[in-house]
């Protein structure tokens, strides 16, 4: 045990003396959370929309109700005057204001053309784009129906403007995702790099000749990263709560236990990668391709898995982050307990056993 402790201390020294490692370990979670917080959102659901309709008539009401009943939007209310637009956006509840030009219905009948202005909150450009595109499509749809029924060649021209950046509701989506990503990077990537570094330097051989057992060496190298990953998980949950107002509805203890489980899975993956390659570069390459990309692309964190080709949907079932994100969302947002996440937890446990078993096997093969 004393031998082991000295070894762990040495590992901490490596980490604490390398500025770049420190930056990755502690700077990255904060930066990534902020970056994703402001950039990534993708789901359109119950987006609140206000309407400015100075002279309501049959057409404007039909358009409004068609938009609001689409399922993507929720009617926030009518505005009294244009001055309220600014104020409404500032409050941060609505993402879009639809303005009908005065005398919309009359113009449409007389000139066969009328204007609608769509103002979108471009706090995150992606959402704003989606909101505007969906709304325009619904208006087009309405126009087609109108043409078919009356035979008149109406033309409604939506005019689009994007407004500022201050919304943060994407947090509910991305905090669990960023958590999975960071834990994957710190645990898997850093572990595989630190183990292959010893191989590259030749110190691994010296350690293997020593009375330290291989599992002590691996555990010793991994222990500091478990602790650091756990600190990262705590940081992310705290930032989610204090910066983005993301609640933890369920049990914090359960959430942290699940984090520990996911960290272990990621570490075992990192160890597995390091048994396959001999250089830090290869370790980084493998970790990026095999671990990070699937975590970003296939976990449902940024891109909805439901919209992917079937093959990718199948592939997503072997991405550990997918299960972790489901678990975290259930616990944080829905406040559910073990009864609802046991299946995902079981999958992660099985993956953990599988990767550890595979690593031990690979390690033995190398020895012979």
């Amino acid at each position: 045990m004393k031998r082991f402790r000295g070894f762990v201390i040495k590992e901490f020294n490596h980490i604490l003396r390398d500025f770049r490692t420190l930056l990755i370990l502690f700077g990255m979670p904060v930066i990534q959370l902020l970056v994703f917080g402001y950039v990534v959102t993708n789901e359109l659901k119950d987006i609140r929309v206000a309407v400015y309709d100075p002279e309501g008539d049959r057409y404007t009401r039909e358009i409004t109700s068609k938009i609001m009943s689409s399922g993507y939007f929720v009617f926030d209310g009518y505005l009294e005057n244009e001055g309220q637009i600014e104020e409404k956006f500032r409050e941060g509840n609505i993402k879009q204001v639809i303005l009908f030009e005065p005398g919309f219905g009359r113009k449409l009948m007389r000139e066969e053309s009328a204007g609608i202005q769509l103002l979108a909150d471009a706090s995150d450009a992606n959402t704003a784009n989606l909101v505007v595109n969906y709304t325009s499509a619904i208006i087009q749809d309405y126009m087609m129906d109108l043409r078919k029924n009356s035979g008149v060649r109406f033309q409604i021209v939506p005019e689009v403007r994007m407004l500022y950046n201050e919304n943060m509701e994407g947090a509910f989506m991305f905090v669990p995702g960023v958590m999975a990503l960071i834990l994957m990077i710190v645990s898997a990537l850093m572990t595989s790099i630190t183990i292959t570094r010893e191989k590259e330097l030749g110190t691994m051989e010296t350690l293997l000749v020593s009375p330290l057992r291989p599992r002590q060496i691996v555990l010793g190298k991994v222990t500091p990263y478990v602790i650091l990953s756990f600190i990262n998980a705590l940081t992310i949950v705290a930032m989610g709560y204090f910066v983005f107002g993301l609640p933890v509805q369920g049990s914090l203890g359960l959430l942290l236990l699940e984090c520990l489980l996911f960290i272990s899975v990621a570490l075992s993956l990192g160890i597995f990668v390091s048994t396959m390659v001999d250089t830090q570069q290869m370790a980084m390459f493998f970790s990026m391709i095999l671990l990070l990309l699937p975590t970003i692309l296939l976990s449902g964190f940024i891109f909805p898995v439901e919209n992917m080709p079937v093959i990718l949907q199948w592939l997503s079932y072997i991405v550990p982050a997918k299960y972790f994100i489901i678990i975290v969302k259930s616990i944080m947002l829905k406040g559910t307990g073990m009864a609802f996440v046991w299946k995902e937890t079981l999958v992660l446990l099985l993956m953990l056993l599988l990767f550890i078993g595979a690593s031990v096997k690979r390690f033995k093969i190398r020895l012979e």
Partner: protein, 242 residues
């Protein structure tokens, strides 16, 4: 401090990697306290044999004992009794001199008091006291090699294995390095060293010359020179390799 006691005994050691035979029925013995040189060109199978003796790799077949223990069953006990210095550099560059010493001494289970005493003694002998708190990366290569050797024997092993320890070092540092090896040998540590420098072969008590996975000659430098009618080990080697 030579004796007739065998510390390494190798009988019919065979190591195969697929179809390639790296070690083809090796037979030799190493006596306690001697400096045993394992010579050969690159790829002759020196390192493969050394790795098997250290427990880094398992033989395909053969009976091998190290420090009186069987390499199959006594692996863990063997590890406590041997020291090892690899071809590559084995100290951590981002750790300080005394931290490296403490790490390896700790891994070999020395007590805190012993670690302190041996660290002071070691730094004093090597004249490295002034750089005690410097990181390894700040030391010249020659100093590092000497330190690496001293660290490899800090737990007073019965055998120390050196895998081409003087690669890339200038002749003067090499000479100083060999002084350290002699000191260790005087203290009763058996030294098993691989090298492809033939001048170093002259420093060994006995040498074993390998060629394409087989042992071609074994004996003291004087015996080999007489047998092959050569004036130095270089000629011996050329005659064998021919």
């Amino acid at each position: 401090m030579k004796s007739e006691k065998t510390v390494i005994k190798v009988r019919d050691l065979v190591k195969k990697f697929g179809d390639f035979t790296a070690n083809d029925h090796l037979n030799f013995e190493v006596y306690e306290g001697e400096i045993f040189g394992f010579l050969g060109a690159n790829g002759a199978g020196k390192t493969t044999a050394l790795r098997i003796l250290c427990g880094l790799s398992l033989p395909t077949s053969g009976e091998i004992s190290v420090a009186g223990l069987n390499v199959y069953s006594g692996r863990d006990m063997i590890k406590r009794r041997i020291g090892y210095m690899s071809q590559k550099f084995s100290l951590y560059e981002d750790l300080q001199v005394h931290e490296n010493i403490r790490l390896y001494a700790g891994i070999y289970g020395l007590s805190r008091k012993e670690i302190r005493l041996r660290t002071d003694h070691l730094l004093d002998t090597l004249g490295l006291e002034p750089v005690r708190n410097k990181r390894i990366s700040e030391l010249p290569l020659g100093w590092r090699q000497k330190l690496a050797f001293s660290v490899a024997v800090i737990h007073r092993p019965s055998i120390v294995f050196l895998d081409e320890p003087t690669g890339g070092v200038d002749p003067i540092t090499r000479r100083q390095f060999w002084d350290l090896i002699y000191d260790a040998s005087h203290d009763g540590i058996t030294v098993f060293v691989t090298t492809h420098y033939m001048d170093e072969a002259e420093y060994c008590d006995r040498v074993c010359i390998m060629e394409a996975g087989r042992i071609e000659a074994i004996g003291s430098p004087a015996e080999l020179k007489a047998k092959y009618h050569a004036t130095n080990m270089d000629e011996v080697f050329i005659k064998i390799a021919r």
